[in-house]
Amino acid sequence: MTFLLVLALWSAAFWCHECLQPRTRSSFPRQAGAVSVNQIVRALAPCLALTLCLFQDPALGIFYWLGLGSAAGLSTSVLMAVLKQKRGLARMSKTPL
């Protein structure tokens, strides 16, 4: 249960981070107040997740925090990509090579 919560907190932090990027802000317009909320969540959610991990397992908490963070980042990025695809924004990117 704790680990699910940690995963959710990390996902929220990554989601807010992506929402704060100019490219996403133009695709998903938000109100002015939402920016501050996003910034606060982005800063606090990982700290809270770390606290929970250390509380759950003081010796190995840091490893859970890092591992779940990576997993949450990956799943959030895939979710974001799918949402952008649904809104027809996926093919706007340039070819890198």
Partner: protein
């Protein structure tokens, strides 16, 4: 100046990453599987029931001691692993030069389970750190590749540092094909950077002496030659010791001293019985042990303290080997290992995509594409091949473990030959599709084969069998998706 540095680092990252990445992807993949080496061995030895507890009887220990002595009479240095939560079986193992292999005993009666001979998960563990090439050159090559990995990580960071923060989770799988591959490479590298850098560093540090030995590579002319004591090669003994004393009281005494309730390791020398602390209790991979006399069982000494430098290396080893990790953490290691494998594989693909037009698909490009195909598709096919061979060969078959390994390399070799053939004849695209088709068939068919072979009862240790089969099926599905994607025209 800064841009010049990025350009130089880009060149370094591309070439070091590609040349080292061809083998690093295999090392990452085998390391990922080695996280569950015990479980893979359990899957490959379905005759061993996994429903026993961790309790031991004196009769079982006596049978194990006799088995150890019998192995010593054959010149093999055998040892015992006691049942643990993870592997509830009493095992009598010896080192065959590559893997720890041996028999599994019932921890209550001491009867030997008629389990099939297999290299099991140990094969992937050995491949991960030595490519099954022994200390020289296997471990040396892997350690050197570890250094290359650190160089690739450093140069990759310099290239990507400006976009690191804003593009932290940017992934465009539905964009143009090159864009999607670059994003996949970046996202794996960035999100799993702590794990990959840490594992790369600790893996290199563990075997640093393979590259930088404490003594000179060349013998000194001034040093006086000293007389060498006659020692047995690793995994062998020169002479068998006497039958050890009853082990149950020694184990109880050692567990009190070591505070290690199960899963201990017991080594035997002609004079001593050494009972080691289990690696499952804490991230320090200690060699804490209690030594007893092999003649009468009296306690000789206990080693439970390590100097700080030794303790540091114990921590480095412990964190890399992850034997301490409980199941959820082991899954995170596994996931991170998969991410590292994807990072290396996507890097190889990006390298090829970037040069396909500019190279005019000349000879060296075609060789590079063949090697990439061998790594990205051939290696997982060979891995699945070893699982197939395990179920297809008769359970009672002499030299079975070696046969599995030989067939693994045969499948990988065939994939390499096929990749070279199709690449050199300018049919690489159909080569990718053919190999992906084989991989998809091997992956999706494995659960069916496991079911049809009726090698085990599904009620016993079902989670091990179902998880392994599900992961194989998932690999097949991913290969199938890639195959279908390759049939579409490139965006």
């Amino acid at each position: 100046m800064r841009e010049t540095l990025r350009v130089h680092m880009g060149w370094l990252h591309s070439w070091v990453g590609f040349l080292a990445g061809l083998l690093l992807a295999c090392i990452f993949a085998s390391g990922t599987l080695a996280v569950f080496d015990t479980e893979i061995t359990q899957w490959m030895q379905p005759e061993v029931p996994l429903t026993q507890g961790t309790s031991l009887t004196p009769a079982a220990l006596q049978a194990a001691a006799q088995a150890v002595q019998a192995e010593e009479e054959k010149g093999l240095s055998a040892f015992l692993t006691l049942p643990s939560q993870r592997d509830p079986v009493l095992r009598v193992l010896h080192y065959d030069g590559y893997e720890f292999v041996g028999t599994a005993l019932d921890s209550t009666t001491g009867a030997v389970f008629p389990a099939r001979e297999t290299a099991g998960g140990q094969f992937f563990y050995n491949f991960h750190f030595s490519l099954r090439g022994g200390n020289q050159p296997g471990v040396q090559i892997v350690t050197f590749l570890g250094l290359c990995l650190l160089v690739a990580i450093g140069s990759g960071l310099v290239i990507h540092i400006k976009a690191l923060w804003p593009d932290l989770i940017l992934f465009r799988p539905f964009g143009a094909r090159p864009r999607a591959w670059v994003d996949a490479h970046l996202i794996m590298g960035v999100l799993f950077l702590p794990f990959i850098a840490f594992m790369g560093y600790t893996g290199t540090a563990i075997h640093a002496r393979a590259l930088l030995p404490a003594e000179s590579f060349f013998p000194s002319h001034t040093a006086t030659p000293h007389k060498k004591e006659k020692t047995a090669p690793k995994g062998r003994v020169l002479q068998a010791g006497p039958l050890p004393p009853p082990l149950a009281p020694l184990i109880a005494q050692a567990r009190d001293v070591l505070r290690s309730p199960d899963g201990n390791l017991i080594l035997f020398t002609p004079d001593e019985v050494r009972i080691f602390k289990s690696d499952a209790f804490g991230p320090f991979l200690t060699r804490d042990h209690v030594a007893f006399s092999r003649k009468d069982g009296h306690s000789l000494r206990s080693v439970t303290q390590s100097p700080p430098a030794v303790a540091t290396m114990q921590l480095v080893r412990g964190l890399h080997y992850a034997r301490y990790a409980p199941l959820p953490l082991r899954w995170l290691y596994f996931l991170s290992g998969l991410a590292a494998t994807t990072l290396a594989a996507s890097g190889l693909v990006v390298f090829l995509m970037k040069r396909r037009r500019s190279s005019g698909e000349q000879f060296f490009f075609r060789i590079a594409e063949a090697l990439t195909m061998t790594t990205v598709v051939g290696f997982p096919t060979a891995i699945l091949g070893i699982f197939w061979v395990n179920r297809c060969l008769p359970a009672v078959f002499s030299g079975r473990a070696m046969m599995e390994i030989n067939l693994f390399f045969l499948v990988w070799g065939l994939c390499a030959a096929h990749a070279l053939l199709v690449s050199l004849t300018r049919h690489a695209a159909s080569g990718w599709r053919q190999q992906l088709g084989v991989l998809a068939g091997a992956g999706c068919g494995l659960p069916l084969l496991d079911l049809v072979s009726r090698s085990h009862a599904w009620a016993q240790g079902a989670s091990v069998f179902m998880t392994a089969d599900a992961l194989a099926f998932l690999t097949g599905l991913i290969a199938l998706c890639a195959l279908l994607k390759l049939r579409e025209p490139a965006a």
